[in-house]
Symmetry: D2
């Protein structure tokens, strides 16, 4: 995500917006954008692909900014969490079941 990270930094620097990007405000922003992403499915499983991609883009952008603020690499942090999930849900127990998968 080096290109997106760099693009976010430039975007915010040009607008002097880093002042608004506390960890808490970014966490709120991720939740707000996730709600807009969910809205694509409010009344149906069908969705408008363009709208969905835009909302996914917004969530991604705020995730990149939050990782940057926390000085972690977004991808490495995701890999670390996936490794924990792999331990929590061993293949032999989890295979084909969603029941214990409620809490990533």
């Amino acid at each position: 995500m080096k290109k997106l990270l760099q693009a976010c930094r430039t975007f915010n620097k040009e607008r002097d917006w880093d002042q608004f990007h506390t960890a808490e405000n970014l966490a709120k922003s991720i939740s707000i954008e996730a709600g807009e992403l969910l809205e694509c499915f409010q009344w149906s499983s069908d969705y408008d692909r363009e709208a969905l991609l835009e909302e996914l883009g917004d969530v991604t952008i705020y995730c990149v900014m939050l990782a940057d603020l926390l000085s972690v690499d977004l991808e490495e942090n995701g890999l670390a969490k996936l490794a924990k999930a792999a331990q929590k849900y061993p293949v032999e127990k989890a295979r084909g079941k969603s029941t214990k998968y409620d809490k990533l």
Copy 2:
């Protein structure tokens, strides 16, 4: 995000979990995990760094899975959205103001 994408694919294939990962279920999952991320700030701006990184990891993982389902590159999709935001919020108008920044 090639490494995380590949790791997610392997993780889900081993567990036979792709069957649960419709676009709608992933959108719900992103919202749910975003709520857990927000919970790190429920009563205060202070936060537990480890907990925050884990929740950010969960949001990231589901974003990667949704992008994969939609056959887009998560980073490229973020860059496309940031380009739209740059047009919507021209530097000269947006500089230092959060007022019109409510709707990424």
Copy 3:
């Protein structure tokens, strides 16, 4: 909430909208509207009172509809949950502390 419940029923009946109001769709709607409520605070603790009241109204309306679908009284259901919370957080232990209050 008898008046609001009755008003919601009439509103939906007139529009033939009950067909869209599955428990899942209402749960998604509550999350979506909660995101819009949160948006009032995205970049600041200050808020637009009118906007906030409207979003609170939306969350309330969907809660009333979901309670109706589940055939429970919204107020009685809230009282039952508050009684559980009172047991979980005994006065002598919880007094003045937010630390263990993260999980209502």
Copy 4:
């Protein structure tokens, strides 16, 4: 909601928790609990009724607290919003359609 309002006030007074209940913290709490409500449907339209009622109770409780902080009656505020929605979605145009109903 007089009984639940009174019960919430007593609950918080006994625990000295009103100090945590700013409008922003309550808005975050509504979003967090809405995420837990949504979690009942993460991988399926089926749900655990008891869990769902508990999460609905949590959302309701925080809505009651926010209305109290804003000095409005939760039911009256919901009725006012429903009246606006009725104007926005006239019966003759809205009947049987979810398409324009995305934005309550």
